[in-house]
C-alpha cells in the first residue's frame, strides 16, 4: 500500500490508519490485560452471584452485557471467562513453543537422518486436522484443564518446529558458527549458546501469535462440551451455556463472549504485524493472522 496515496479517511484522521491500528491494538490489549489481572482480586463482586429476579435482562447501565439465564452479570462472567481463556491459551502456547523449539532445534542441529525422521513425523502429524486431533486427545483424557492444554500443545507445535528448524539451518551456514566449531566448541555448546539464541525472536513471535490460536482452539473444545469443566467457565463455555437462551431469542449471552474472543485476536495480530514491520521494514506486512 503506497503511503503517498492518502484516502479521505486518512486525511480526516490526519495520520495513517496503520498507526491508528497499532494504537487501537495497544489500548485493547491494555484494557484486556488490566481487566483480567485486576478485576478478580480487586472487585468485591461474585461472578457466580445468582439473582433469579434479574434473569435474562438485556444490556443496560446496571448490567452492560445483560444477565444470563440465572441472573448472573454477564460482563463479570465474561471478564472471568476471558481470564480463563487467556491463561489456558498462554500456557498452551508456551508449551507448544517449547516442544516446537526443542524438536526443531534437534532436527536442525543434528541434521542427517535425525532431521529426516523428525520432519517426516512433523509432516505426518500435520496431515491430521488440528481440531480433530485435539478432539481425539481431549476425548481420551478428559475432563480437566490439563487435557485441554495438552490437546492444544500437541497440535500446535508443528509450525514452530518448522520455523525453528529453518532458522537454525540458515544460522548454521554463518561464519560465526564455523568459528565456534573450529574453536573446538561441542555440538551441545554450539546449539545452546550460538544457535538457540538466534531463533528466539522468531520463536517468540510465533508464540505470541499462537496465543489467539490456542484461545480459539480451547473455546471450540469447550463449546463442543469437550473442554474445560463448567466451574472453570471460559469464553467457549459461556457460548455453550448460552445456547438455551439463544433459542429462546436472547442474543446477548452469545454475542458478548464471542466478541471478547475476537477483540484480543485482532489486537495481538495488529501488534505482531507492527513488530514484524519494525524488524523488516521493507516487507510491509499486511495484518497477519
Amino acid at each position: 500500500m503506497a503511503d503517498a496515496r492518502q484516502s479521505p479517511l486518512q486525511k480526516v484522521l490526519g495520520r495513517s490508519t496503520r498507526t491508528l491500528r497499532v494504537r487501537a491494538s495497544v489500548i485493547i490489549m491494555a484494557v484486556v490485560v488490566l481487566a483480567v489481572v485486576l478485576v478478580p482480586p480487586l472487585a468485591q463482586l461474585d461472578q457466580q452471584a445468582v439473582d433469579l429476579a434479574q434473569k435474562l435482562r438485556p444490556p443496560s447501565w446496571a448490567h452492560p452485557f445483560g444477565t444470563d439465564d440465572v441472573g448472573r452479570d454477564l460482563l463479570l462472567r465474561c471478564v472471568y471467562g476471558l481470564r480463563v481463556s487467556l491463561m489456558v491459551g498462554a500456557v498452551a502456547a508456551l508449551a507448544a513453543t517449547l516442544i516446537g523449539t526443542a524438536v526443531g532445534a534437534a532436527a536442525g542441529a543434528f541434521g542427517g537422518w535425525t532431521d529426516r525422521v523428525v520432519m517426516r513425523l512433523v509432516d505426518t502429524c500435520s496431515s491430521v486436522p488440528h481440531l480433530l486431533l485435539g478432539i481425539f486427545v481431549v476425548a481420551m483424557f478428559r475432563p480437566g484443564v490439563w487435557p485441554v492444554v495438552a490437546s492444544v500443545a500437541l497440535t500446535h507445535w508443528l509450525s514452530t518446529a518448522r520455523i525453528v528448524r529453518s532458522e537454525i539451518l540458515s544460522l548454521r551456514s554463518r561464519p560465526f558458527i564455523d568459528a565456534a566449531i573450529s574453536g573446538g566448541a561441542s555440538r551441545w555448546r554450539v546449539t545452546v549458546r550460538h544457535l538457540l539464541p538466534g531463533v528466539v525472536p522468531q520463536a517468540g513471535l510465533a508464540a505470541v501469535l499462537m496465543v489467539p490460536h490456542a484461545m480459539w482452539h480451547e473455546s471450540a473444545l469447550s463449546f463442543l462440551g469437550l473442554g474445560l469443566p463448567a466451574h472453570q467457565a471460559s469464553l467457549g463455555n459461556l457460548v455453550q451455556s448460552a445456547r438455551g437462551s439463544l433459542l429462546a431469542g436472547d442474543w446477548w449471552p452469545t454475542l458478548f463472549p464471542g466478541l471478547l474472543l475476537i477483540l484480543p485476536t485482532l489486537a495481538i495480530a495488529g501488534l505482531v504485524g507492527a513488530w514484524r514491520e519494525r524488524l523488516s521494514p521493507r516487507r510491509r506486512s499486511e495484518l497477519m493472522l
Binding site: 478432539i135 476425548a139 481420551m140 463442543l224 474472543l261 495480530a269
Partner: protein, 335 residues
C-alpha cells in the same frame, strides 16, 4: 482447441507418476496415524469395556464384564490390537459404533454424502463471493471498499465458526423466521425432499462458506493486485483494452488460477469448520458424528473418522499439487 486435444496435451504420464508416488508415501503416513491413535488410547485412563457396556456396565456382574473384556480383546498388547483392527479394517470391517449403535462402515456410508454436499456448497459460496470481493478490492487497493472488506475479512477470520452459526440461527431462524434452525428436514416430515434439504442447507453452508471466505478473499486480492502491477497488464492497458477486459481477462486469470488450485490444500480448515458447523446446525454429516463419538468416547468410530480425515487431507494436497502443476507448468510434477 477442442476437448480431445486438451486431453491429449495433458502430461498424463507425469501426473500418474506423481499420484503413484503420493499414494506410496501416504501408506506409511496412514499407518503411523492409526498407530498413533491406538497409542493415545492405550495411554489414556479410559476403559473401553465400561464405554462399550455403558449404563448396563453399572449393574452387570463381574463375570459378564470379564467376558466382555475378553471378547473386546482389551488386554491384548497394543501392537496386537492395532494389527487386528488394521487387518479387519482392510477387509471393510471397521467395528461397531457404540454411540450410534451401528457398524462404523454404515455410519460413514450414510453420512459422508451429506458432508460432501455441505462442503461443496460452502466452497462454492466462498470461492464465488471471495473472488468477486477480491477483484473489487484489488481494483482500488487502499480504497474505502478495500478497507471495509479487508477489515471485515480479518474480523471474520478471528470469529469462531460456532459463534457465527449461533448468531445466524438467532437472526435468520428466530428473528426473521425465514430459514430452519437446524437438521436436514422439517421435524414433521419423515421423507427427505430436495426442497427441504436446500432450505436446511442455506444456513450451515452459508456459515461454513463465510468462515472460509477470508482466506479466499485475501488471496484473490493479493493475487489480482500483484498481477495488476505486472507487465502483461501494463501491456494490455497500453493497447487500450477496456478496464473490464484487463481486470477479468488478464489480472484475474493470472492472479486467480494458482489460487483456485490451492482449494485442495484447504481440506484441514474445512474439516475444522465442519466439525463446529455441523454440530451447531445438527447437520447429519460425518463431522457431527465425530463430535458425538468424542463426547461419548466411541473409540472405533473416532479412530475410523480420524484416519478418514487424514486420508482426505492427503487427497486434497495431491489434488492441489496436480492442479497447480497444470496451471503453472514451471512447477512441474516432481513433489
Amino acid at each position: 482447441m477442442d476437448a480431445e486435444e486438451v486431453s491429449r496435451r495433458l502430461p498424463w504420464g507425469a501426473m500418474g507418476r506423481m499420484t503413484g508416488r503420493r499414494i506410496l508415501s501416504a501408506v506409511p503416513v496412514l499407518l503411523a496415524v492409526t498407530f498413533g491413535v491406538f497409542a493415545v488410547a492405550a495411554a489414556s485412563p479410559f476403559d473401553p469395556v465400561k464405554a462399550y457396556a455403558g449404563t448396563a456396565g453399572l449393574t452387570a456382574s463381574q463375570a459378564d464384564l470379564d467376558q466382555l473384556r475378553a471378547n473386546l480383546g482389551v488386554d491384548q498388547p497394543l501392537v496386537r490390537r492395532w494389527w487386528d483392527w488394521l487387518s479387519s479394517a482392510l477387509t471393510g470391517d471397521l467395528g461397531d459404533s457404540s454411540v450410534l449403535r451401528q457398524p462404523v462402515a454404515d455410519v460413514i456410508a450414510e453420512r459422508i454424502g451429506w458432508s460432501a454436499l455441505l462442503a461443496t456448497a460452502a466452497f462454492a459460496i466462498a470461492v464465488l463471493l471471495g473472488t468477486a470481493l477480491g477483484v473489487l478490492a484489488a481494483r482500488r487497493r487502499g480504497g474505502w471498499l478495500d478497507r471495509c472488506v479487508s477489515s471485515a475479512a480479518y474480523t471474520l477470520e478471528a470469529a469462531p465458526a460456532f459463534w457465527l452459526g449461533l448468531l445466524a440461527i438467532w437472526f435468520f431462524a428466530l428473528e426473521l423466521g425465514a430459514l430452519p434452525a437446524g437438521g436436514l428436514t422439517d421435524t414433521a416430515s419423515d421423507t427427505v425432499t430436495p426442497g427441504q434439504v436446500i432450505s436446511h442447507l442455506v444456513l450451515p453452508a452459508g456459515v461454513l462458506g463465510l468462515s472460509q471466505l477470508p482466506w479466499f478473499f485475501l488471496y484473490v486480492r493479493q493475487g489480482v493486485g500483484d498481477a495488476l502491477d505486472e507487465d502483461p497488464v501494463r501491456g494490455a492497458r497500453a493497447r487500450g483494452l477496456a478496464e473490464r477486459t484487463v481486470l477479468t481477462g488478464h489480472a484475474l486469470r493470472s492472479g486467480m488460477l494458482p489460487m483456485l488450485t490451492l482449494i485442495g490444500s484447504r481440506v484441514p480448515e474445512l474439516i475444522t469448520g465442519a466439525l463446529l458447523v455441523e454440530t451447531v446446525f445438527s447437520w447429519p454429516g460425518i463431522a457431527a458424528a465425530t463430535v458425538q463419538a468424542a463426547t461419548s468416547v466411541d473409540f472405533p468410530l473416532l479412530a475410523a473418522l480420524t484416519v478418514l480425515a487424514t486420508a482426505a487431507v492427503l487427497l486434497g494436497n495431491l489434488l492441489s499439487d496436480l492442479l497447480y502443476g497444470l496451471a503453472d507448468p514451471r512447477v512441474g510434477f516432481d513433489g
